[in-house]
């Protein structure tokens, strides 16, 4: 699907290209820097890809969209547009996402399977406690005691409760 047409990013000129170039470091599924294929923003020969003639103003609007959407702005900011009264559109392209701070899993604590976790349909934090909806046994289990102890086991495992609620 590569196109010989110039990339929309090229339309911004050398200065803009330099600003737009961002490190792809840290991404696992994105191609290497500069490896994005040029994106065809308008159908060839003035026709839509399905062969239909474009509506008047289509090429212009596509060009404007390209300039707006590929513009070099603060990567932390999305672009807000008004599409209809009362509705804004926020655009966040993937390059901007890649520029955001990445949070990963620092520690992970497994609550284990205290005899009965089966059919878990949800869980929520309640302060230092965790409430788990365990549909298999028609109950809600709560786990307390905070984060992991030194062994990496859930410190509050022993406090799991499963009492009749009546």
């Amino acid at each position: 699907m590569r196109s010989s047409r110039p990339s929309p990013r090229d339309a911004h000129g050398p200065k803009a290209r330099e600003t737009c170039h961002r490190s792809r470091q840290g991404t696992t599924s994105s191609p290497a820097a500069g490896a994005y294929p040029p994106v065809r923003l308008t159908p060839p020969e003035g026709r839509a890809a399905n062969g239909a003639l474009p509506r008047p103003g289509l090429a212009l609007s596509a060009t404007v969209a390209a300039l707006v959407l590929w513009g070099c702005t603060d990567p932390s900011q999305s672009q807000l547009h008004r599409s209809e009264p009362g509705v804004a559109i926020a655009r966040n392209d993937l390059e901007r996402l890649d520029a955001l701070p990445v949070y990963g899993v620092e520690t992970s604590v497994d609550l284990g399977n205290p005899e009965r976790l089966y059919g878990v349909v949800g869980a929520v934090m309640l302060g230092d406690e965790i409430a788990v909806a365990n549909a298999g046994n028609h109950e809600v289990l709560t786990f307390g005691g905070g984060m992991a102890n030194c062994s990496g086991r859930w410190a509050g495992k022993a406090t799991a409760r499963a009492s009749s609620a009546t």
């Binding site: 699907m1 470091q25 991404t27 696992t28 599924s29 490896a35 294929p37 994106v39 065809r40 923003l41 308008t42 159908p43 839509a48 890809a49 399905n50 474009p54 509506r55 609007s61 596509a62 969209a65 959407l69 999305s78 807000l80 599409s83 209809e84 509705v87 804004a88 926020a90 966040n92 993937l94 901007r96 996402l97 955001l100 701070p101 990445v102 899993v105 520690t107 992970s108 604590v109 497994d110 609550l111 976790l117 949800g122 869980a123 929520v124 934090m125 409430a131 788990v132 909806a133 365990n134 046994n137 028609h138 109950e139 809600v140 984060m147 990496g152 859930w154 409760r161 609620a165 009546t166």
Partner: protein
Amino acid sequence: MGRKGDGPGEFRHLTWIGAIGGDSIFTYDSGHDRVSVFSADGRYLASWRVGLGLVGLWRRVAGPARGGDLYFALGPAPGFGPVSPGRGCGSIRVLRFNRATGDLDTMRTDPGQDAHSFVLSERPHEIWIQPVPFCPDGSFAAGPDRLAFGDAAYPGTLITDEAGRPELEIHLGLAARRPTRRGSERMIEHIRATGPEGFQERRDRFTGLVAPRDTLPFFSGLPFDRSGLLWVRLYSFPWEETTTLVAFDREGRAIRTVRLPTDVELLDIGSDHALALRRDSLGVESVVLMRLAGRKGGPGVATR
């Protein structure tokens, strides 16, 4: 707390859990069609019959919203019907359950006639969303004063206020990835959504760029955290090691990304933690609490 049965605080088919503040646990039992509330220490407090009935091919529960109201979304199953950009492929019916009064207005009303606006019912407890290009992907969330709907056709996310009035659409652009010699390659096209011409334009460009069968829903799962941030999980392929979640603020700005292992199913997320369900190869379930920390690049690594 709870056990199998039909009495107060007992469950037949527990399907959802949520919390309000730090002291109340909400549950929804689809078997009884009933919302029950427990205190944090496990005491049964109250329950209400919701009265949804057997409508909709799927139902999602979300909330609690302000005042403890819950929202129920009913609609076609994800992927049901023609999924075609520029065409509507379903509608979502949203009901608000008022915890204070136990009311749930289920009267059906006609969707709006304006094809390109998200005209909703005027009834305060019922919201119909059926714009022509809207294709619900089954994602639904309710925050303190907002609702969010995933749209597989754009793809994107529609944010409304608590009455269902549209406020914001979030688009990350249309994305598709195809296997190449170097692995997975992501192709991106940004789209406009400014009216009938915009929809037409988008459809043409969509089919010209990649075949529809190669295009995958970009969003799935839409939880709000307690601070009001909307967390959207981007689509990930099975062979990818991590899945990415993006937090959007009230103005729709992406402010943070989090990478989690793909072998877990997210249950709850906050500013510094994520709760997830993990199944081992034998199907044994466990709940995992993950502490999140910032790092520069690199996938999230689960350590035990």
